[in-house]
Amino acid sequence: MAPYLIKRIAGLAAVLLVMSFIVFCLQSIIPADPARSLVGPSAPQETVERLREEMGLNDPLLVQYGHFVSRLVEGDLGTSIRTRQPIAEDVLRYGPATLELILAAMVLGTALAFILAFAQATLARSGAIRVGMLTLGSVPIFLTALLLAYFLWFKLGWFPGSGRIDIRRFSGPTGFFVLDGLLLGRPEVTLGALRHLFLPALALSVPIAISVGRSLSSALVDVMRQPYIRTARGKGLSAGHIFLRHGLRNAASAPLAMLGLQVGLMFGNLLIVERVFAWPGLGLYTVQSFATSDLPAILGVALVFGAFYILVTMLVEIAQSLADPRIAL
């Protein structure tokens, strides 16, 4: 395990370095002048020139990249043009909301995936379920999100459709409101946070549920045909015991990989869902940065999500090796 972790962390650093280089190149190639956008279009050219000198924008590219990386190492992602705050601080402010949403979507998606897989394995009309899954899977996420918001919030009013919580200016020690409510002994916070989480998490969980559900059900079909399942049946074990103890764990590897892939690729969907539900997270932050061509902020968030993706992949590999002892890390 230890050599695996060392290897992976070294890999993480290498990937981040490559990403930082790409991000840096993008920053340098794009014609927008950060100094000009910082001081505004009406400022005199001398001010811009002075600022360029101060920001090191006139240095050779390699030197600039060196500065860029050394700042990154210190946790400095640059300054946002729109909020005029260090991007790292913005990420820390909006990150917990997004992480909470991702976790909720993962839990919901996995639960739905199980239900779909079981339904397909046990119900007689599994063909109908497959058609239903296909239809649901073909609906683009902005439509799912809008339909959920329209019916469950606007029409029926069952769930809140915007923001994280109804309490104004709430802030907790961790930034995860569901957790903060419990830590502060205020169950109404947790409950409110959960109600707000439901719709955006549901919208995000649909693609997870469908892809993980399909991979789980095909893995289960395959596993339940293996000779060791016949051995288990030959021992007179009950069907439920065989399914839980012998089937599920052996079928875990492919759905785990699929879950990791889906979570890692959730970023695009986050932009849409956070925008639709006015969720104050990194997705919404990025959308707003787009609107104001806040390139440093967009690239900073992209770096953070790149690191997140690698981390998720690593966790998936660890989970796979825990499920199957033949996979050695």
Binding site: Y228, G234, K235, G236, L237, N250
Partner: protein, 584 residues
């Protein structure tokens, strides 16, 4: 104790229901060992599954008849009752131990699942001869060898003290050298606990060694049932006689071909009011196609389903006069020359920065095969024999050493799994014809040569338009041979071509290969783990152990006076038909 009456089973495959068992009766007494013998597709495994109520649901089994064990009626039993029967009364030992243990659960937990205490688990692991039970119990299945896993599975089954044990070819997937130990272990434990064994096998010699009675199955019907010794000595059904005459061991006559009584199998028609062996039977009469023979009780207490069983002894003696091998053409040149072949494979890296461990597979192997000569390469799994064959074929690059072929012509290879070696969507004729394409022959010439090749291997040239799926496994193997020889090669490499076959098919294939290499003057390398087959097919036997040739020489010399310890184990592992002179 166990009583099967009129068991009929129909199973669906690809939407078509087929009769797999057609009226099987059998009684099993406590502690008795009954062997179930038949070729693949005879329904022998289906009996074992039906006993446990484990017929696969996806083939929509239709079962009628009765299987009674103690107070339980297994046919049509409720799921709960079936589970109880499986847990307490009927256990099984599978054919392939590699897949039969859950790879993600420790051995100990899998043993304890049906209520064994940890102490009992350790006790049983010890009783089946596993060293260090404590370590094995904590281990995961993939860390054990095939033989060890089969011991675990035997412990798992016998610990329940079942009344009946279904052993479905429990040793075919194991190395020859451990087969005998596993069989002894199984029968000893059964004797101690009074467990009856239903022993499923296709080898009459193994049946003869272990069983009290034998039931010969053909096409879902019982062909013959009786005391094993009597059946092996003088079979009363032509199919049993065919099985018996086709089997070979270390005393078979090397000078002539093997006798094969029955003709090439096609699709056997099972249902209907006729003897279902009629299409293959050499002594059939018109009556056989009009009426189904009963399993008649004979004076000697045996039962046989044949109208003409008095003709079977003549059949057996005529079988002894099989044709001699043709004269080998050849010459002094070498078809294959391997010179100091070394090969090792990279393993896992040790630690974070350590070098990758390399496993030596072959170290300094020298081998020459002359034109028209056959060398059999024997060795246990992991000895490197398949790697050597692949290097000889040019499929794997050797690390060191030289490979040279006669005239630089690349060899042809015949693989173990013939069905997998054929492309499923190309017709047989197209696949054979593919090899003629570089020669730029005309279409008509190509067809003529394909037909010639098919005829050479004993397949009706009319089948050249058939897809592999429409042929039997034996026919597929012949097609791969035809593909190999349609452009006559100077060297034919065979990788265990008969190890998945039952005796009659194996005999036919050995005859075919033995004839072809002599007629065409091909050198042949025949990789096998079956010493009896090696002795029959080859002019010389080479023994490979841990990547080195430890012995090479005349077959009978090697077998009568084996030098290397491994060769000695191999010789003693070949099952022999123990019977008083059967020819009479």
């Amino acid at each position: 104790m166990l009583s099967i009456r009129g068991l009929h089973v129909r199973l669906s495959r690809d939407g078509r229901a087929n009769t797999v068992l057609d009226g099987v009766d059998l009684d099993l007494a406590p502690g008795e060992v009954v062997a179930l013998v038949g070729e693949s597709g005879s329904g022998k495994s289906t009996i074992g599954l039906a006993l446990q109520g484990l017929l696969p649901a996806e083939s929509q089994p239709e079962i009628s008849g009765s299987i009674r064990l103690s107070k339980h009626e297994i046919v049509g039993a409720k799921a709960g009752e079936l589970r109880q029967v499986r847990r307490d009364l009927i256990r099984s030992v599978p054919q392939d131990p590699m897949g039969a243990l859950n790879p993600t659960m420790s051995i100990g937990r899998q043993m304890a699942e049906t209520g064994l205490s940890p102490a009992e688990v350790l006790d049983w692991l010890g009783r089946v001869g596993l060293p260090d039970p404590r370590r094995i119990a904590a281990d995961m299945p993939h860390r054990l060898s095939g033989g060890q896993r089969q011991r675990v599975l035997i412990a798992m089954s016998m610990a329940a003290k079942p009344r009946v044990l279904v052993a479905d070819e429990p040793t075919t997937a194991l190395d020859v050298t451990v087969q005998a130990q596993i069989l002894t272990l199984l029968t000893d434990l059964a004797r101690e606990q009074g467990t009856a064994i239903l022993f499923i096998t296709h080898d009459l010699a193994v049946a003869a060694e272990l069983s009290n009675r034998v039931m010969v199955l053909f096409g879902g019907r019982v062909a013959e049932l009786g005391e094993t010794r009597a059946v092996v000595k003088a079979p009363a059904h032509p199919y049993a006689a065919g099985l018996l005459s086709a089997r070979f061991d270390l005393s078979s006559d090397r000078g002539r071909q093997l006798s094969t009584l029955s003709t090439e199998r096609g699709r056997t028609r099972i249902e209907g009011p006729h003897c279902n062996y009629v299409a293959r039977c050499p002594i059939s009469t018109p009556e056989c196609s009009q009426r189904r023979p009963d399993l008649a009780l004979r004076e000697d207490g045996r039962r046989a389903a044949c109208f003409n069983s008095d003709k079977v002894p003549d059949l057996l003696s005529s079988a002894r006069a099989a044709p001699a091998w043709p004269e080998a053409i050849g010459g002094n040149a070498n078809a294959l020359e391997l010179f100091r072949i070394h090969k090792s494979f990279a393993g896992r890296r040790k630690g974070l920065f350590g070098a990758k461990a390399r496993t030596r597979v072959l170290s300094g192997v020298d081998l020459r095969i002359g034109l028209g000569e056959c060398v059999a390469l024997v060795g246990e799994s992991g000895s490197g024999k398949s790697t050597l064959l692949r290097i000889a074929a040019g499929l794997v690059e050797q690390d060191e050493g030289d490979v040279s072929w006669f005239g630089g012509i690349p060899p042809q290879v015949v693989f173990q799994d013939a069905v997998a070696a054929l492309t499923p969507w190309l017709t047989v004729g197209e696949q054979i014809g593919d090899r003629l394409r570089p020669l730029n022959v005309s279409k008509a010439e190509q067809q003529r040569r394909v037909a010639e090749a098919l005829e050479l291997v004993g397949i009706d040239p009319a089948l050249s338009g058939a897809l592999p799926a429409e042929l039997s496994g034996g026919q597929c193997q012949r097609v791969t041979v035809a593909r190999a020889v349609v452009v006559p090669p100077k060297l034919l490499l065979c990788d265990e071509p008969i190890s998945a076959m039952d005796v009659s098919l194996a005999a036919q294939t050995l005859n075919l290969l033995g004839t072809l290499r002599r007629q065409m003057g091909m050198g042949m390398l025949f990789v096998t783990h079956d010493l009896a087959a090696a002795r029959l097919i080859a002019d010389r036997i080479a023994v490979l152990e841990k990547g080195q040739l430890v012995e090479i020489g005349e077959p009978d010399q090697i077998i009568s006076d084996p030098q290397a310890p491994y060769t000695r184990t191999l010789v003693s592992a070949v099952p022999r038909l123990v019977t008083e002179e059967a020819s009479a």
